[in-house]
Symmetry: C2
Subunit: 246 residues, 2 copies
């Protein structure tokens, strides 16, 4: 499995993905389940993926291959909406090709989910969730984040602390804690993580951060969060459930 | 959906279930997704269920009906292992009846999961997870708890604090927090909750506790936990992710 989170905050965009099972394929700039398409100074588009690896690899490969072709591709589409639509269309193309083949489709789930976010000059940063059917949803100020893959373990902490005006540092702290909770409860999600932060209107080159078992900040968070939770838990009152019983 | 947790600790057994969607059917002693079969002084068996409501209702109804028949039933089986086996057998019987009918089975999931725990005089308390296939797993000292239904949101806190030697008060506190996290992140799980605690070797009559929106202890926990988490989060260090960037 996989766990990916993306947030679209006032301060900018956050992308984070684990790296278990899947391997990246993009030669442009791929960081495992994270693929980056960029023209520094003009656009940055980041794609996170979960689901059938054959499908996601094909989609990313086709998106990359077509950068050299005429016709719309991720480095010339005019808006992030068009970028999301292009990812959805490419996904439908791959699924139609693979799932219709007479030799395949026997109970195999060809589905994949993509988080597609970024900023193209002339627009604000935007973030989309492209569903296995190819249609897509955009993050809003009310719902500033999306998750794909093993999303449930790490959702409560995000729901509690993330708002549209959270800083990128807070968002990163929360996201790393969310991954820690997921990794502790589900073996199919594992380190290293890839984290990419983008400040609104910066159009700076992508500088993804790889979080390994040795990452000092991540380890400080894991330890501090675990100890803090146990401290809060211990301080909460106990109820005497048997006082009224014989 | 549903969320149920059961724990088998040194101190005794804990059972907890939400009450959204499903309604109980057992006349003996049913508390929504919780059904109790007991002979005070001799045995207490509690069953929690999730999954297809028609299936779970039928299984509980048959188990109840057969208390008046000859042959093995929940009030005369000699061990908790036999009780789990009986629940599994009854589940297979119901699924075979309903899912094989020519008028049904069109994409319907007839599956159900049961947590079956209790103590029968002569044995220690035991807890089983009966799978949709009717086979079952027993909780051990290493893995002292089971969850069914929407289990993922509320798993991290249990993994962090529950050990075989946790007290029943701690276990209840943890379970209520686990339900709170689940309820906040998933609308399909809702109050009121049913909580049943059983002290090892007590063979006391079941005294289930209903946790509503007005429950003072639950509200104290929700508030204290939420505030505590945010306090711990705020105190954890922030990283300056952009210091090295142009």
């Amino acid at each position: 499995m996989t766990y990916c989170v993306a947030m679209r905050l006032k301060a900018g965009l956050l992308f984070a993905s684990d790296s278990r099972t899947n391997a990246g394929v993009d030669h442009i700039a791929t960081f495992r389940k994270m693929s980056v398409f960029e023209t520094p100074g003009e656009r940055l588009i980041t794609i996170l993926n979960s689901g059938n690896l054959a499908t996601t690899q094909s989609v990313i490969s086709l998106l990359r291959e077509r950068l050299a072709h005429d016709g719309p591709h991720l480095l010339n589409v005019p808006t992030m909406y068009a970028a999301a639509e292009l990812v959805g269309r490419t996904l439908k193309e791959v699924v139609a090709r693979d799932a219709n083949d007479a030799t395949l489709g026997q109970g195999v789930d060809f589905g994949a989910n993509f988080l597609v976010g970024g900023q193209i000059r002339g627009e604000v940063p935007r973030l989309f969730h492209v569903y296995p059917q190819g249609n897509f949803l955009e993050a809003t100020e009310d719902t500033p984040y999306f998750q794909i893959g093993e999303s449930k373990y790490g959702k409560p902490i995000i729901d509690r602390v993330i708002r549209y005006d959270s800083s990128l540092s807070e968002a990163t702290k929360c996201t790393l804690i969310s991954f820690d909770s997921t990794i502790r409860s589900n073996l199919s999600v594992g380190l290293p993580l890839d984290v990419l932060l983008y400040q609104t209107d910066s159009f700076a080159p992508a500088a993804p951060h790889r979080v390994t078992h040795e990452d000092a900040y991540f380890n400080k968070l894991r330890r501090g969060w675990g100890e803090g939770l146990r401290r809060v838990f211990a301080k909460l009152p106990d109820e005497d459930w048997f006082s009224g019983q014989p």
